[in-house]
């Protein structure tokens, strides 16, 4: 029996869906017991949410004031100490996990497997490289702790209904004061979260301006969809960074992805490869996005979006 420690991600009140997806990935390793570690401050409700996820045997709660904000320099020493008793340490490949897990790996003096997309054996994992243009089988030597991040778009959240045992845990690790949290600047989240939305409407450079993005939002709201964007649209200042989809933004897997005025750079395509159906609307018939779209329509998005909205 091997033991897996899964690092929970949360915003102080809610468990992030990436955690359940990470758990689902770890459940694919044979003969393991899964424990979730929640680091937070006043985080009983979050621990409760983690305990409800199927497959979880135990939830460990490291509740202390310093854990109120997610600073890798503060969390990593605690995780490394607790991880000593585990064979695997998994975190989500979100900005939280990407920031944190390599620090944990370094403290444990082991290499990290980034972005697991498939478990192919107890010590072998498929992961995308070169912006998803190649898939590598990473193999971890026997006797080495496996520290990894999980590409959450490759996994669905498993069922709930469990009631795992919750246990408080304390760490004696010395915590640094050289890193201080100032603030999170976040756009009001009035639309479905990109990483969990079943429908995502995305706009690119072709949308042309911040004001023009209103028609994208209008269509999204009619459909109850999340809104994403290409790097070009974010760079141009049309939308905020948290909406960027692609290699360096969010990797998403909605049932339906509709791209308006997005040319389809490989860095963008890598972020949407797991979408159920990809629809592309672009006025350039040669746009690369049409190569991977399931349904393509050549035309002017400023005519097509209002027509779609009206006919839906």
């Amino acid at each position: 029996m091997s033991h897996v420690l899964i690092i929970a991600e949360h915003d102080g009140s809610q468990l992030n869906s990436a955690t359940a997806k990470t758990i689902n990935c770890a459940a694919g390793i044979d003969n393991t017991e899964l424990h979730v570690l929640v680091l937070g401050s006043g985080c009983d409700a979050i621990a409760q949410q983690a305990a409800e996820i199927a497959g979880v045997a135990k939830v460990l709660v490291a509740d202390r004031n310093e854990n109120a904000v997610p600073l890798a320099a503060v969390l990593a020493p605690q995780i490394a100490e607790i991880a000593a008793a585990y064979d695997y340490v998994f975190g989500p490949s979100t900005t939280f996990g990407k920031d944190l897990m390599p620090a944990v790996a370094a403290l444990l003096d082991v290499e990290q497997v980034s972005d697991i997309m498939e478990v192919t054996g107890p010590r072998s994992f498929k992961r995308p490289v070169y912006a998803g243009n190649a898939i590598l089988n990473a193999e971890v030597a026997e006797g080495t702790k496996v520290v990894a991040t999980v590409r959450t778009a490759s996994y669905k959240a498993g069922p709930t209904g469990n009631s795992a045992h919750i246990e408080a845990i304390s760490s004696t690790a010395a915590l640094p004061s050289h890193t201080r949290y100032v603030e999170l600047q976040s756009e009001a989240a009035e639309r479905p979260d990109l990483q969990t939305a079943k429908l995502v409407i995305s706009g690119g450079r072709g949308v042309g301006s911040k004001e023009n993005f209103d028609i994208v939002y209008k269509l999204a709201d009619k459909l109850g969809a999340g809104v994403g964007a290409s790097r070009a649209a974010v760079d141009a200042g049309y939308v905020s960074n948290d909406m960027q989809v692609g290699q360096t933004g969010k990797i998403i897997a909605p049932d339906l992805y509709m791209a308006f005025g997005i040319s389809g750079a490989i860095q963008h395509l890598t972020g949407i490869k797991d979408a159920g159906t990809i629809v592309a609307i672009n006025n350039d018939p040669e746009a690369a996005i049409f190569e991977i779209a399931d349904i393509g329509l050549v035309g002017d998005l400023f005519e097509i979006i209002p027509e779609l909205e009206q006919k839906l």
Binding site: A72, A73, F96, K98, D99, L100, M101, P102, A103, A106, L107, D109, E111, Q112, S114, P128, Y130, A131, G132, A134, I135, L136, N137, A138, E139, V140, A141, T144, H178, T179, R180, V182, E183, L184, Q185, S186, Q195, L199, L223, V234, D235, S240, N241, D242, T248, K250, L256, K273, T277, I278, V279, D294, I295, G296, L297, V298, G299, I304, L308, L312
Partner: protein
């Protein structure tokens, strides 16, 4: 501050269409254009801007790889770095090993700031900066889109999934760069000529005494499954019909 250390990785240029070798042993790199990892180029640009504002004296670029990485280091010098350190290594090393070697380098250079890309666009690991900071026992500020220095403190705006997170770190610190931190300058021909006279020190990786072998090894490489060929429709009605057929709207 005195020194900023910038780590550059040589990677397959971002415009190259990647092909997996038929025997699954890696990707085709023979005759392929190589460049500085774009995120590292942003890191160097940021270091140069700090120096040009008079807030640093010396920018040193460091790279690990075969002798050919000299080209990328010379590009770094042409962009404006003062000197370069080439750590010659002819085998593939992991991010952890790279971090250990860079740590030795940092101990020698004693920089106030180490800046590098948040990830390299070849292995997409996104690990080295965090590992280096941890091993160095210094703060990390990853995915930076804004960097403000004031005395011994760096205020860093980080691109995170929920928006923009602002943190403060004491120097020395490790900063990893995101795309929107800056737009790197183009190198001008006279600068390339000038760069030839700048100091480029070569060191063998063996001199650092770091174990190079890895516990995580690359098995077979594969080409990702491609999506089934799609259809083109002529108008909105046909698009809606196709979506309704799939029960998506």
């Amino acid at each position: 501050m005195k020194t900023i250390m910038v780590c550059l990785k040589r990677v397959v240029d971002y415009n190259v269409r990647i092909r997996v070798k038929p025997d699954g042993s890696g990707v085709v790199t023979d005759g392929v254009k190589m460049s500085i990892n774009p995120f590292d180029e942003i890191a160097l640009e940021e270091a140069l801007r700090i120096k040009e504002r008079g807030e640093a004296e010396d920018v040193v670029v460091v790279s690990i790889g075969p002798a050919d990485i000299q080209q990328q280091l010379r590009t770094g010098l042409a962009m404006g770095a003062d000197r370069a350190v080439l750590i010659e290594c002819n085998e593939d090393i992991s991010s952890l090993t790279a971090a250990k070697v860079l740590l030795k380098c940092a101990e020698k250079e004693a920089p106030d700031l180490i800046v590098l890309g948040k990830q390299a666009i070849d292995d997409d690991c996104n690990q080295t900066g965090q590992m280096l900071a941890t091993l160095w026992g210094r703060p990390q500020a990853t995915f930076a889109s804004k960097l403000e220095l004031s005395g011994n403190v760096a205020k860093v705006t980080r691109e995170v999934d929920a928006g923009l997170e602002v943190i403060e770190v004491d120097l020395p610190a490790v900063i990893t760069t995101d795309l929107r931190l800056n737009e790197p300058r183009y190198v001008k021909l006279p600068d390339i000529m000038k760069a030839k006279k700048k100091q480029l020190e070569s060191v063998a990786i063996a001199d650092f005494g770091v174990e190079l072998s890895s516990k995580v090894t690359a098995g077979n490489w594969e080409t990702p499954a491609s999506r089934a060929k799609g259809i083109m429709v002529n108008d909105v009605d046909a698009l809606l019909a196709a979506l309704k057929e799939k029960d998506l709207v």
